[in-house]
């Protein structure tokens, strides 16, 4: 490389007296530039990109159901989904007549609402490729029922179910590396999920949790970790706590599962987004001495005294296993589900099973459908429960990030108890001896990059 080019490329390092470093910079440039990617790599990536899973959409939902709120995650994924839908429009049109005939025959033969094989919902049938793919590979088949959460009085089920499908698809895509995944509306309050090639339902359940993170104003009240509470956003009833911030106030790009470099424990790091960052700083400044309590799906994971203003960065530590930390990070990255989901049917369908001998939603044995009252413990669909030692601390300089789970074996999610809440939660900046429970601003980052 010529000197002018070298100085241009590394101007920040070679300016002024540092020009004597130019030969070394040139050697380093040569060292790294020699690491050329193999010729086949570009083609391999292109091929892999073309086989990513496609989101199946419901004809009853996408056009008319705009996202209920301005969550950019939902907007972006809705746009992508809409494109995918249009891309398959011709295929749908070509197959529509055949589907109509098949659907009518199935209805006549088996009665309304009691289909054989996969249930015939009001949404469109899967396209041939998706259906054949699932039939050939088998996989996890599930039907979940959606309902409005008790703490969302203005919830619109019809709109909420579309948002739920979008968020759920994002979570599933980040967890399962499968092609032709299907997540579609299967009825007014029902969602059908097909994960071709997946051999176990164990990974599905935690992804159906709402994943709603709430920062609660509990005033001078310490709430034991692990306890379940009522959460409200506007009009609060006695016994409920107001959520002053939620997971939607966090910057999804900032949310990362990471390893704390000091303790080696997996943590979730986050930053408040936009104006919420300033609001959080204002809030902590004006509520010094009071408790800030954090809940995930109404279960307390932290309750600690605000000691001074916090600038909007933080980390949640002590959540437990790496798997739990990954799931919490996934909730915060993809957003909370606007609706509560309850598993009605979930099965592992054997490869090569034709639809007629697969599963029957109407005839199958549904899993127990938990009745979850406000503040009640999640049951069938809940496996993420923080340990009593969960704490919120300010962000350390360089936690080692943990990537989202992609390929490879999927470990069974860990079901953990919520704890008895008897431990003393603590919140402290990095490198500070364990004091009484407090919230403090972040320390000046130390220069310790990397792992």
């Amino acid at each position: 490389m010529s000197d002018p080019e070298l100085f241009r490329r590394y101007a920040d390092l070679l300016e002024g007296d540092a020009s004597e470093l130019a030969p070394l910079a040139g050697q380093l440039d040569s060292f790294y530039t020699a690491l050329e990617p193999p010729a086949h790599l570009e083609l391999a990536i292109e091929r892999a990109v073309r086989t990513r899973p496609v989101l199946a959409t419901s004809a009853t939902g996408t056009e008319g159901a705009q996202p209920r709120h301005s969550d950019k995650r939902v907007h972006a994924q809705t746009e992508r989904r809409t494109f995918v839908k249009s891309r398959h429009l011709q295929t749908f049109a070509a197959c529509a007549a055949a589907f109509v005939v098949v659907a009518l025959m199935a209805a006549l033969l088996h009665g309304f609402g009691v289909g054989v094989g996969r249930p015939a919902g009001p949404g469109p049938r899967l396209d041939n490729g998706q259906q054949q793919n699932f039939d050939r590979l088998g996989g996890v088949y599930a039907v979940v029922q959606a309902r409005c959460p008790a703490d969302a009085p203005d919830c619109d089920l019809a709109k909420g179910i579309q948002e739920t499908i979008t968020v759920l698809f994002g979570r599933l895509s980040a967890t399962f590396d499968v092609a032709e995944m299907v997540v579609r509306q299967n009825g007014p309050d029902s969602i059908l999920i097909e994960l071709p090639g997946v051999k176990s339902t164990a990974q599905l359940a935690p992804l159906l949790n709402r994943g709603a993170l709430s920062f609660l104003d509990t005033g001078a009240t310490f709430v034991p970790v692990g306890s379940l509470v009522g959460v409200c956003t506007t009009s609060c009833q006695p016994g409920e706590y107001k959520a002053v911030f939620t997971g939607a106030d966090l910057d999804p790009n900032s949310v990362t599962a990471a390893f704390d470099p000091n303790s080696g424990q997996p943590v979730v790091i986050f930053t408040f987004e936009g104006t919420a960052r300033a609001h959080f700083a204002d809030y902590t400044r004006t509520h010094i001495g009071q408790y800030l309590t954090i809940a995930l799906d109404n279960r307390i994971i932290e309750s600690a005294t605000i000691q001074s203003e916090i600038n909007g960065e933080g980390q949640i530590v002590g959540l437990g296993t790496l798997d739990v930390v990954r799931k919490v990070a996934l909730y915060l990255q993809r957003g909370a589900l606007p609706l509560e989901l309850t598993v009605q049917v979930q099965r592992v369908v054997a490869p090569g099973t034709p639809p007629a001998s697969g599963v029957s939603c109407g005839q199958g044995t549904p899993l127990p459908t938990p009745t979850r009252e406000r503040g009640a413990a999640p049951t069938a669909t809940s496996t993420i429960s923080p340990t009593p030692s969960a704490t919120l601390a300010t962000i350390p300089p360089t936690p080692t990030p943990i990537p989202a789970r992609g390929n490879g074996p999927q470990p069974t999610p860990t079901a953990e108890s919520g704890g008895d809440g008897c431990s003393t939660p603590t919140v402290w900046p990095r490198n500070t001896p364990t004091p009484a429970a407090t919230l403090t601003p972040p320390p000046t980052p130390a220069a310790t990059p990397g792992r």
Binding site: L21, L28, I45, P397, R451
Partner: protein, 188 residues
């Protein structure tokens, strides 16, 4: 001869357009990953011992980026920094998977041959690079990480700062300090 810049000259200005297109259509991801392929691969290759593994991890990086792309918005984090955050996470994950059997931080041993007209000059260059490799291997992970991001990933100091969570000034100062330290031990 002044070679064309690898990235700065080839239309950084239309990157937002490429990103927006890829956010709506995964098939439009091609121009974006082709732009960053070599840089990401070099960064990854600097961390893993084998070409095949580096290629596999690089592919994972771009597929994860494709999945996460609908959620990407700049908000002060340049796309390059966002992409290399994913790369950093993916490399870290690969470490954990093979920790039991493979030593960490293995620098690549087989560089492509230096093509020159004179065998002696080639030999000297090879020896020089081999010496550099030894010195790099003696650095701690954090320092090598910064060098891999700067020289392998061709990220600027502000972009590296966004990846590693430090201030641009601190990154620049650290890089300069690393180079000065290397220079004292590496006579070029």
């Amino acid at each position: 001869m002044v070679l064309p810049l690898e990235r700065e000259s080839d239309a950084v200005e239309d990157e937002p357009t490429l990103i927006a297109a890829a956010q709506c259509d995964s098939h439009a991801f091609g121009p974006l990953y082709r732009r960053y392929l070599a840089r990401v691969y070099r960064y990854v290759r600097a961390h893993v011992p084998g070409e095949d593994e580096a290629a596999d991890i690089t592919q994972q990086v771009f597929l994860q980026a494709l999945d996460a792309l609908p959620r990407y918005s700049e908000r002060g984090v340049p796309f390059a920094a966002w992409l290399f955050r994913i790369a950093r996470h993916t490399v870290a994950d690969s470490y954990r998977r093979r920790r039991a059997t493979v030593a960490l931080e293995t620098l690549p041993t087989s560089l492509h041959p230096v093509m020159g007209q004179e065998p002696e000059a080639d030999l000297l260059r090879r020896e020089s690079l081999a010496r550099l490799r030894e010195l790099l291997a003696e650095l701690d992970h954090g320092k090598r990480e910064l060098l891999a991001l700067r020289f392998g990933g061709q990220l600027s100091s502000p972009e590296i700062a966004a990846v590693v969570g430090r201030s641009p000034a601190a990154v620049k100062k650290e890089l300069t300090r690393i180079l000065q330290s290397l220079k004292e031990r590496y006579d070029v």
